[in-house]
């Protein structure tokens, strides 16, 4: 995906290639991100999905060089090409002052949990002004005007300018975070679990607003979440991350209809659906591997029902799903195709109970 030509105007706005990040630790380096390549095209919503600890936030923050020691970028390149930039830049090679130019103006972030990301002793106006003044050259009057416009953008009444974070609901706080991210009309907005702590009704409302703003202002979104059901509705393309590596990338429709990787299949069967007939739910038994150990082959092998001895040696590069018409639908598993039947026993949660011999139950 990363090897595309770099003529301005076409090609991805953000191109992460072979990025590797480790957290240095005495007990051994944690390989949080291993050789990940992912591209974000202009106007696109790319969803990055994975369990906690899969490295999805590390990947996004690493790509903006927001990580501090003990995190260490050990390899790869992150090329940025915005509408306002003549030449693509490698973010990993920028000097500190160039980086400051890039951050927020070109790439903005909506952090997880707006409860903690806002300063409790500043009111909404000062908070947004802070972001505006730090990144844009504006007169005082212009900056104030900008602050009000940003509130309009996310549908918060201007009367709230003097409110403090604790006076606002969780949804409103999240909207303020989004308003701040949009202050400098960025090319890319990274959203790290922006709605995880919110109620479903508020969540849906904010997602609809994000999509609407994206259409209107034309930015691209890298959307990080552990909730695949939400991404299927929201994202254009989905990248599935596990143990610091990408296992599958494809359009939302392809991921939904023809998931290739066993892990993606497992994720799709992990959430109960509200609409349509009741499905057989399975979940994914087991837990993710310890990233301190260097593992050869597929990191998902211990939890994979298709696993064979050959999986211990496979090369984890993404290759086109052989049966798919879409060349951009890629998977790290060379053995399993969307139509590969489940091996032997069905692994439904219900069957699991049936298999369990009735244990001695202490309370009669």
């Amino acid at each position: 995906m990363s090897s595309q030509n770099w003529s301005a105007g076409s090609g991805p706005v953000l191109d992460i290639s072979d990025l590797s990040i480790v957290y240095a630790a005495e007990a051994g380096d944690v390989r949080a991100v291993s050789k990940v390549s992912l591209a974000l095209n202009a106007g696109e919503v790319v969803g990055l999905v994975g369990e906690s600890g899969s490295g999805k936030s590390t990947l996004a923050y690493g790509a903006c060089r927001l990580l501090r020691s003990p995190a260490l970028i050990t390899g790869g390149a992150v090329r940025y090409q915005g509408r306002r930039a003549a030449e693509p830049t490698d973010i990993l090679r920028l000097h500190a002052d160039e980086l400051r130019q890039l951050r927020w103006r070109e790439i903005a972030i909506v952090f997880q949990s707006a409860m903690n990301a806002l300063n409790p002793v500043l009111n909404v106006k000062d908070q947004i002004l802070d972001a505006v003044n730090a990144h844009l050259r504006m007169s005082k009057a212009e900056a104030l005007d900008k602050t009000s416009t940003l509130l309009d953008l996310v549908g918060i009444p201007r009367s709230r300018l003097r409110s403090y974070p604790h006076e606002l609901s969780g949804g409103m706080r999240q909207r303020i975070m989004i308003a701040m991210a949009l202050a400098a009309d960025p090319e890319i907005v990274i959203m790290d679990e922006p709605t995880t702590a919110l109620d479903v009704v508020v969540q849906r409302d904010i997602l609809a607003q994000i999509v609407e703003l994206k259409e209107r202002l034309g930015f691209s979104i890298l959307f990080i979440t552990h909730d695949l059901s939400l991404l299927l509705e929201m994202a254009d393309r989905i990248a599935v991350m596990y143990a610091g590596q990408l296992l599958e990338v494809g359009t939302a429709a392809e991921i939904k209809r023809e998931p290739a990787h066993p892990y993606t299949r497992g994720l799709l069967r992990s959430f109960p659906s509200l609409h349509g007939p009741r499905r057989d739910l399975a979940g994914i038994p087991g837990s993710p591997p310890d990233l301190r150990m260097a593992t050869a082959g597929c990191p998902f092998l211990p939890r994979c029902q298709f696993g064979t001895a050959a999986c211990e040696r496979i090369d984890m590069t993404l290759a086109k799903v052989a049966s798919s018409a879409d060349p951009a639908h890629v998977t790290a598993c060379p053995f399993v195709l969307p139509d590969t039947p489940e091996p032997g026993k069905t692994h439904s949660a219900a069957a699991d109970f049936a298999e369990q011999p009735d244990r001695e139950v202490s309370s009669a």
Binding site: D199, V200, Q203, R204, H226, S229, H275, I284, S287
Partner: protein
């Protein structure tokens, strides 16, 4: 995950809430009506889901049932007898019967104590076992029940050495150590990863079947309630606004609030359409809409609200005569919803369902 026993033991409830009301005093003359006139029963071997948004009062209901809070009015019956919390002994007895599992396994376990310590305390307190071998044996058995094996190995661990799912298993084991008849699970899986949530719900389901527990499953995720619960109670602003068997309630929600909740849940089969059209945003007011203190609490947000709704609180009304007119509706046991306009709400739901079917066929 529900099976052949639709509502567990028929007959009297294991735990019953009767007109529970709880007010919290905020300041002079300022009251928060956290729970208003809530009545329901929990039956041995059955799962009741309590669904609602944050601040709807669902955790307060659990705390009232567990005896952590005293109700402003109303009462609780355990096994048909009124609950007495007046003495330490009576309180402890109630705790033995009614146990809670909390949302956050990172906060609910003490970081300086081992798993063994967490489990042996309730074994001593509630089961009256004192000899070291008895306690150790019981701790091992508990860990086996929640499938943390080998038990000796897990018993020696500290919370930070466990994953989120393992910690929540310890919380389950701790609750079971008291040998309760009723288990109140307050958002037991919402802090866990999607991929292990199912496993944990499966474990809970397994435990309630084997131990004949009466289980209250508190959640904001109505989709999981569909799969996991026999009956669903929907709470809004401290009040139960709809109740009924899980499948018909989630498939044909009667109350406008339940309809909003169901329409807001992520729908993976939808692939972008409603989000882009913003179909769900209708019927929701801008900004914060507090619950009305008078009339129907949902009236400020409800598209069907009229003067009657704003003046008088409807209370629960039977749903069936209205809904049974809809196609494909099979007769279900007692469904009720607190709404003055159930026929209009049913028509609204029918129209929305037709629109989404149409959209699907176009995709």
């Amino acid at each position: 995950m529900t099976d052949d026993t639709p509502l567990g033991d028929s007959g009297s409830p294991a735990l019953e809430a009767i007109s529970l009301t709880k007010n919290f005093r905020l300041g002079p003359g300022q009251l928060i009506h956290a729970v208003r006139d809530v009545s329901f029963g929990l039956y041995s071997g059955a799962v009741i889901a309590l669904v609602g948004e944050s601040g709807s009062g669902k955790s307060t209901v659990a705390r009232l049932l567990a005896g952590q809070e005293r109700p402003t009015s109303g009462s609780i019956k355990l096994g048909g007898k009124p609950v007495d919390l007046s003495t330490r002994k009576a309180f402890r007895q109630h705790k033995s019967d009614v146990q809670m599992v909390f949302q956050d396994p990172f906060a609910s376990l003490n970081p300086v104590h081992t798993v063994r310590y967490h489990l042996s305390r309730p074994v001593r307190l509630h089961q009256g076992k004192h000899s070291a071998t008895d306690v150790a044996g019981e701790v091992d058995a508990l860990l086996g029940q929640v499938r943390l094996t080998p038990a000796e190995q897990f018993a020696a661990k500290y919370p930070h050495e466990l994953s989120g799912g393992q910690r929540q298993r310890v919380s389950f084991a701790r609750a079971l150590a008291a040998r309760p008849t009723v288990l109140l699970a307050d958002e037991p899986v919402s802090m866990l990863d999607v991929s292990i949530r199912l496993e944990m719900l499966g474990l809970l389901d397994d435990l309630r079947k084997r131990l004949r527990l009466a289980l209250l499953y508190i959640t904001h995720d109505i989709a999981s309630a569909r799969y996991f619960a026999d009956e669903v109670l929907v709470m809004y602003a401290g009040q139960i606004v709809e109740q009924g068997p899980a499948e018909p309630l989630t498939q044909q929600p009667a109350h406008p609030y339940t309809q909003l909740l169901v329409a807001s849940a992520p729908d993976p089969d939808n692939l972008g359409s409603t989000l882009r059209t913003g179909a769900v945003r209708a019927g929701r007011p801008a900004g914060s809409a507090g619950a009305a203190s008078q009339g129907c609490p949902f009236s400020p947000r409800c598209p069907l609200a009229d003067d009657l709704c704003r003046a008088e609180n409807p209370g629960l009304q039977p749903v069936d005569p209205v809904l049974s007119a809809g196609p494909g509706h099979t007769a279900s046991t007692a469904r009720s919803a607190a709404c003055w306009h159930l026929p209009e709400a049913a028509a609204m739901q029918e129209a929305a369902a037709r629109a989404s079917r149409k959209q699907e066929s176009e995709v």
